[in-house]
Amino acid sequence: MNARTLNFLGMGLVGVIGVAFLILTPRFAELDAVLELTIYMIMAILALSLALIWGYGGILCFGQSAFFGLGAYTYAIAMFNIGESTVPLLLAIALPAAFAALLGYFVFYGRISDVYLGVITLTVTLILFNSVNSTAGPEFHIGVARLGGFNGIPGIPPLNYPGNRTAVIDLEGMFYLSTAALLAIYFGLRLLLASRFGRIIVGIRENERRAELLGYDPRAYKLAIFTIGGALAGFAGCLFANWGNFVSPTIFGLAQSAQIIIWVIVGGRGTLIGPIVGCIGIQWLTTALGANQPSGSDWWTRLLANAPLVLGIILVAFVLLVPKGLVPTLGDFGQWLLRARTRRTTSALEPKQAEER
């Protein structure tokens, strides 16, 4: 069994599990569980957006939540003004993408190194957070939508079927939409990365100077991948605004950004399925930790219920001990097992050779 067959096998497995999950869950699970799973799917889309630009593009963006929040706010504001969800949905993708393109132009064409990029994206996120947070007064409004400052925007109208504003998508419909979107984005990105464009992106991640000397313009490619990542995050933000019918400035916050990075690093950079697994795992863990917090419990239960503390330990532990992330490490382990087996069966037949590198 070679790497390519394994690759196809893995993709097929994801497809089968994904479709089965999509069809079966609403039939067998309670509505609250479906609601919970919907948010996992939405966040997994957000995780994919960073998996693309960081894991494959090599661009460490500390401000992915900026695009996410921008998408959510755009949808909310456009929805109040328009009332029919097709245009707001498209705007919620286009505006973050345009913002990402602008920021990316600034950063990549200024040839700012990747570490400074992290700091700049972090700063932009803080600017957005601070500005939106301070728009509580009634004088801050766009059209009929009040920005609401730190109170956020409540009661956002849900998505509807295109062209028919009375046919709104219900909770179960949101689950189908989010899960189907996640699957579509996953396979779309697999296709994109298998294409010529994707190969060049990975080539630039591996060695930017060499790619440049071969005649590719890394700035343009990085800008393109960054913009796609921004669009995906904006789409996730739009779904998020739908899910809770509410947005507030905390989605621009550092805590949100940190979470996205933790999902990707736990799941594994350079894979797509890893960040999805990491996202769902961490989300589930955070919910489970936060739920069991009876008052008067002993001090270490309280300590465990403290999400930042636990997430911080996870992040440090993964950077120090499992720097590749779960999925690649498991993959290495599987390959090692496979090789160990083949080596045992074939070692009697083959002549002895120098240590394989």
């Binding site: 972090l122 500005s131 930042p308 997430l311 911080g312 992040l315 440090v316 950077v319 120090l320």
Partner: protein
């Protein structure tokens, strides 16, 4: 005229506080190329150290100027030995690990002190400028900033420790060949950087109060000051603080504090675009 004097003091204060919160980070970044995202939490810990010490009956001056730097310096050395040491040369990984550390410290202080603001009242009353009154503590903060910066200059310029530090900063391998032990220099530097952060956090605690997530408010500002300043520790910090502090204070004066901060951050982004090597990458190149 009085208004201008008042504004001048406010601008000086903005510059001084920026320089204070950035200088610890600048030392760590300039010497070791380590981006310490837990910097804001070091400041926060300094504030808590001062407040806890004061509530145990220690004089507020000793708590701020002695206890806080020592406590945070020790924490810094521990962090260096348990986390940072294994990640030298892997800039992105250091950034991530220190971010994890920052989350951990926020969680820990929330668990210990609760998610509320605690404060100590600023000593030193207020004084009169013409028709306006302003806090005497403002002048104290400016004074501390000047003393700290002068002290760093003196140490780097005239002592053996400073010589070793500058040598290691320029070329760690060469310094090692001449008998310096770079890991030890790094550990000491990280400790000193952390101690200065603790001092800054404690000195600013009476102004802003202390709460577990206050680090977020500091970290972006100190980062852009350090990166805007560039490689040289002192002249970089001073020049970037001067630029950003002035812009921040004038924008605050003209609009609101929130937009003052937004103006500061926006200027920083433009500056980094224009001078990717920071101010000292182009001007004051021979500075310390």
């Amino acid at each position: 005229m009085d208004l201008i004097a008042l504004l001048a003091i406010q601008v000086l204060y903005a510059i001084a506080s920026l320089a204070l919160i950035s200088v610890g980070l600048a030392i760590i970044f300039g010497m070791m190329r380590v981006i310490n995202l837990a910097h804001g939490e070091f400041l926060m810990l300094g504030g808590y150290a001062a407040i806890v010490a004061t509530s145990h009956g220690i004089s507020i001056w000793i708590a701020m100027l002695v206890v806080a730097p020592i406590v945070v310096g020790i924490i810094g050395v521990i962090v260096e030995m348990t986390i940072i040491r294994f990640l030298y040369g892997r800039m992105v990984d250091t950034m991530l690990a220190t971010w994890g550390l920052s989350l951990f410290l926020v969680g820990l202080t929330t668990a210990i002190f609760g998610n509320t603001t605690v404060g100590i009242s600023a000593p030193l009353g207020s004084f009169q400028i013409g028709a306006y009154r302003t806090s005497g503590y403002t002048l104290f903060v400016i004074g501390v900033a000047v003393v700290v910066l002068a002290g760093i200059f003196a140490v780097l310029r005239w002592t053996r420790l400073g010589l070793i530090a500058r040598g290691t900063m320029q070329n760690a391998n060469m310094a090692a060949a001449l008998g310096v032990n770079p890991p030890r220099v790094y550990a000491v530097t990280f400790g000193i950087g952390a101690a200065l952060s603790g001092l800054a956090g404690a000195v600013l605690a009476p102004v802003s109060g202390v709460f577990p997530t206050i680090g977020v408010a500091y970290v972006a500002k100190s980062f852009i000051t350090v990166i805007g300043g560039g490689a040289a520790i002192l002249s970089g910090t001073v020049s970037a603080s001067a630029l950003f502090g002035t812009i921040n204070q004038i924008a605050t004066f003209a609009t609101t504090p929130v937009f003052g901060e937004v103006a500061l951050l926006a200027t920083a982004i433009v500056l980094i675009r224009l001078l990717p090597q920071g101010i000292t990458g182009r001007f004051f190149r021979r500075g310390l």
